[in-house]
């Protein structure tokens, strides 16, 4: 990642729709040449606003957006969308309903050969045979591919995709996701994909950016972000997690399942212990400390709810397992899936 060149950089982006509510509250983000960044956050976290601000469809209150040496946004400048070189795939695709697929793709092109270039773009998306179809005659997946082709055709510096798979059914989504990533890679495009689906974000991203309450709270390679969340919020964004409040003593944080090493944190510091469900190792014991309260099989693994004196937690254990509701168990933690973060 360090070797990749920064294409677009956003600093301190702030945007208010309402005086008392900041949609963007000082967001910082870098996009790297030829890499796909996934922007993951819950709805209302400001993802779409950030995307629209990059496209120039929203004006920042403060902060800057620059492409290389070109300033797109700062206190004085607001480059209009048509003067930026961005391609955008909208959540509803926003295909022009009165134009054919070909005319849609050709819209952002100029020059005598624009038809031919548009057709080439459509053919690359394996939609050459649908060139004369109108948007309403295309399937959902085809519409998405036309929208992507339209955004890529003018060879934009950055491609922005706003929840591009949310309108599709589950099976189609996976297939189209692969295809989209392949297309973006083939075009060596710098891309930003907004999503609220953690699995999707991890699947498409070279870089993962987590967003919450108008700020980017963590960036990095997907595995790295998943393994080393910087906060409880970041951990929750990427999947189920049990959070236990504790504090540091003797370089460790105490939990109902034993103490956890917490290197680099000062004694007395209040912390959250973040435990992924698969960190819990359950062993049946006649006089175990915990009791199984619920059991649900989910194919490759088993989800168990277990209770002790100080609460109730959810564990994920390899399936099959001979655990039944009412069984007594002892629980220890696999440190690989446990992190301690300062509050």
């Amino acid at each position: 990642m360090t070797d990749a060149q920064t294409v677009l950089s956003i600093r301190g982006a702030e945007h208010h729709y309402r005086a008392d509510h900041a949609a963007l509250a000082g967001a910082n983000l870098d996009l790297y040449a030829g890499r796909i960044t996934a922007l993951l956050g819950p709805s209302g976290s400001g993802k779409s606003t950030l995307l629209r601000a990059i496209a120039g469809l929203e004006r920042l209150d403060t902060g800057s957006i620059r492409l290389g040496d070109t300033i797109w946004n700062n206190e004085q400048t607001h480059l209009p969308p048509e003067a930026r070189r961005v391609g955008m795939v909208f959540q509803d695709y926003a295909l022009f309903p009165h134009m054919t697929a070909l005319a849609n793709v050709a819209f952002g092109l100029s020059g005598a050969d624009k038809k031919a270039r548009a057709l080439a773009q459509l053919e690359a998306a394996e939609l050459g045979h649908r060139a004369k179809a109108y948007p309403h005659e295309l399937s959902g997946g085809e519409q998405q591919r036309v929208a992507l082709a339209r955004a890529l055709a003018p060879q934009p510096a950055v491609v922005l995709l706003d929840e591009p798979f949310s309108g599709l059914d589950r099976r189609l989504r996976g297939e189209l996701r692969e295809r989209t990533v392949d297309t973006l890679r083939a075009a060596r495009t710098t891309a930003l994909i907004v999503t609220h689906d953690a699995e999707e974000a991890m699947a498409v991203a070279d870089e993962l950016a987590l967003m919450d309450a108008g700020r980017i709270i963590q960036t990095g390679a997907p595995d790295e972000v998943w393994m080393e969340p910087v906060s409880a919020t970041a951990a929750k964004l990427l999947g189920d997690v049990e959070i236990i409040e504790s504090h540091i003593s003797n370089g460790q944080a105490a939990t109902p399942f034993g103490a956890v090493d917490a290197p680099g944190l000062e004694a007395g510091q209040r912390v959250n212990v973040l435990i992924r469900p698969r960190a819990f190792v359950l062993t049946l014991a006649d006089h175990g400390t915990f009791t199984i309260t619920r059991r649900r099989s989910a194919g490759p693994h088993l989800t168990c709810r277990f209770a002790g004196d100080r609460g109730e937690w959810t564990a994920q254990t390899p399936s099959p397992a001979s655990i039944a509701v009412g069984d007594r168990v002892n629980v220890v933690l696999d440190p690989v899936y446990v992190r301690v973060v300062a509050v």
Binding site: R18, A55, L57, A83, F96, H98, G108, R150, P154
Partner: protein
Amino acid sequence: MAAAARLNRFRGWLPGRTLSLAVLAATLCAAPVLAVAWIALTGETGDYLRHLAGTRLPTYLATSAAVALIAAAGSGLIGTGLGWLMARTDFFGRRTLGWVLILPLAVPAYVAAYAWLDLSHAGGPLQAMTGGLFPTIRGSWGAGLMFALVLYPYVYLLARNAFAAQSADAYNAARTLGAGPLHAFWRTSLPMARPAIAAGLALVVMESLADYGTVSHLGAPTLSIGLIRAWSGAGSLVDAARLSLVLVLVAIFIFGLERAQRSRARNINAAGRHKPAPRLPLTGLTALAAFLACLLPLLLGMIIPLGRLGWLALRTEAASGLAAASLHSLTLAGVTALIAAALGLGTAYALRSRTTIAILAARAAGLGYAVPGAVAAVGVIALLSGTQALIDPAWRALTGEVFPILLTSTGAALVLAYLSRFAAAAISPAETALARVTPSLDGAARTLGATPRRRVWQIHWPLIAAGVTSAGLLVFVEVLKELPATMILRPFNYDTLAIIAHNFASDERLGEAALPSLLIPLVALLPMIFVARYLSRQDR
């Protein structure tokens, strides 16, 4: 947040000048109604009104209620039935009938009334044929029936769209829960379409209350008759304004009901993606029955009355002045339609800015639709005479002459009254058309480098052209049909087709009334066909 977000999204491409112009124009449209309210609330109570309250007012109110009720019941039955047939079944001729059924809107109710009274009066052809059994069509129920026959398309259009948009799921769920087809229809499909039907009925009731020609010809003294009498008989602006206010309040109530029902209709049908219900194919006798059921309202509302008038017109020498009257009608309708279309479009754009002032102005202009033509006319008179009184002293001091009479010297006052009345008919279709240009379409065009001009010509205009044209044509038809405001405000000796027809019909000279009466729907038919086909294409 949403409103502000929208504002932000549209800032930048809405020229400020358009916004202020549109707001100004919309305010101008609302001014007559506001003037009526002002005069009614501040003026001295005249003797006429006091006298009226003790004598005829209860009759006016009761008749208005009866006429509106019958019109609503009739148009509700016809419109809902046809709407369901067109949305949910398939039979020979359905596609063509789908838009042809809208055409009776081109026939003014009073024209239908002239023909039907002529056909059914004592000693008329229908009584002769049935041995005196056929009832004479007159009074409250006769007027209500006429309204039902020519105004049912309002209900039909909204009901058809509602039935067509309904998911099959609710109906199917009812069937799996043990309801028979009819029971399931009654319990699910009909209630789901009810807000749309109610919105259509509200339009029918408003139009019925606004009418003057029909009720005066058939002898059903509604409030708008009382209003015209107060103005032309007693000459009291205040009394007329007071009566107007009663009508306006009723209309605002219905108007509010309609708005509320429409937004309910949207909520009911906004339930995500769903499969539309498959059409029930009709064959043999059922198909024939459906076909005839569609033909019947067309026959009664359009073909028979126009046929009768055509027959009368052929047997009577054409009255003089028809050519001039036609020209006047066409000019007034054309000019108003053009202005209204431009105004509608401008206001629709202004509305997208979501600024409070734009919303207020557009809604106030929309109020005019709920206001009977006679009220709009009274409002324009009040407005212009007020302006005149304001300017006159200064003018006299400056020039030593009386300020030229604004009121009746030109058709401008008339056009203002029409605009005040029909601006809504142009604004809301323009809004609908412009709604097709979603923010993301604009965003897409911008990110692809389109300049504002290119966006308007290549994205907006192709998407809204048909809608805006159809809005203009609808206003054209409405103005062509309009009678009471024209009666009150027309310049001296300036006759329109509607005026000539009404004058002859009130003199019982139906033969001479026939041709001008016939000319109105004939001229209106072509634009109406465009509108009908547009409206039918849109929901497919």
